[in-house]
Amino acid sequence: MQPSTLDPLTTYTVRLGDDALVSGHRLSEWTGSAPMLEEELALANVALDLLGRARLCYGYAAERTGQGCSEDSFAYQRDCRAFTNHLIHELPRGDFAFTMARQFMVDCLAVPFLQGLARSLDSRLAGIGAKCVKESRYHLRRSTDWMFRLGDGTEESHRRLQSAVDELWGFTPELFAQDALEAELVHSGVGVDLEPLREPWLTAVNQTFSGAGIVLPALDWQVDGGRQGLHTEHLGHLLSELQFVQRAYPGQQW
């Protein structure tokens, strides 16, 4: 199940599933250690929505792949190099400000992206887009609210949010990079063109941050490689936990 052996549409679907699984897993790590009970519920609920999104993508990819492949094959039976999520999702959860800043920037793109996916000529992807955009809209309301609360809160919360944004900023250009495979799918009306989403995203993010007193850093460094399976050192640690049971007891079921 190396990405290279899958057809373009299946590869694309797995990429979207990887983004959802990895970011959902990072959010789920807050369970038991969130700053307050209500936020713990919220983080776990958003994680659950993302896990559901990953299952929809992996389920579809598994059907297209056949040969006994299931959602679990994608989640549990691949190593780092086969995962194709954007790097921003795998970064350790950091403090609450870091988690929420990442969530806000990702939600801000997820909404128009999923709206676009809902218009995909592939009806299954369109269904996933239409279903999930409602959830992302709901997530965005909360993550936007937190940008104001943290940015405009105490000196400490402001400092933490600003430093989270500084740390994350170089990971955001990758969200808009399109390789040949994605360009081809955009051309055939199946994939979502990210290029027209870039400026509106920047404007929206900037508007919220400036309202929250946060300054966008200069883009003096940036990294990518997630879509090609080239990851930060953090993904391996994440997978070792996420995949532990299936690695220890292959094929085990509840």
């Binding site: 209500e38 609920n45 659950l48 299952r55 218009r119 239409a130 279903k131 009306g189 063109d193």
Partner: protein, 175 residues
């Protein structure tokens, strides 16, 4: 390029049209017995409502010797769906039908607009505020309420507090 002239799914009258289509599908179905059997299946996390009242049950048909049930999930990750799927199979088994296929359908996308007045009243009666635009305390009826958390005990609920009777209550998220 993906076209941009398709109507948005967020459009209210489209969503109401989906609800009407679902109702008509049931009314004009020759399988009234099967629909009635499935009325026994309750949502495990909202047992005040059947899967029909919640809008999850989209269709039931006989295809050859097999009964095909179409369900529309509320949330992509709703963990209750696995239980609901089993409960559907059990409910049909109870009326002597063993060859059942349960299919999941994402579109039209489930929305709280599909809950009719009767379903909303049942929720209120069970102490859960329905997804009305105007949120009201299900205990004392006060409109003087505030949100504690946009997320609650399950994927479909948010947490509120009544500022008059001070009770904390669940409210179905408007989506």
């Amino acid at each position: 390029m993906v076209g941009t002239n398709t109507p948005e799914r967020g459009d209210l009258n489209l969503e109401q049209a989906d609800a009407v289509a679902r109702r008509q599908r049931r009314l004009s179905s020759p399988e009234q017995f099967l629909w009635a059997a499935l009325d026994q299946v309750l949502d495990p996390e909202l047992p005040a409502l059947s899967i029909w009242e919640l809008g999850i049950l989209s269709d039931v048909q006989r295809v050859g010797g097999r009964v095909v049930v179409t369900l529309t999930p509320t949330y992509a990750g709703c963990p209750a769906m696995a239980t609901i799927r089993e409960d559907v199979i059990d409910a049909l088994l109870a009326v002597g039908i063993s060859d059942v296929l349960v299919e999941m359908q994402l579109q039209p996308v489930w929305t709280t607009d599909w809950l009719d007045r009767a379903a909303r009243d049942k929720l209120k009666h069970a102490g859960i505020a329905p997804p009305d635009t105007d949120s009201q305390c299900p205990q004392c009826g006060s409109k003087h309420v505030s949100s504690i958390s946009a997320f609650g005990s399950t994927a479909c609920k948010a947490l509120y507090r009544c500022l008059d009777c001070l009770e904390v209550f669940d409210r179905i998220k408007v989506i």
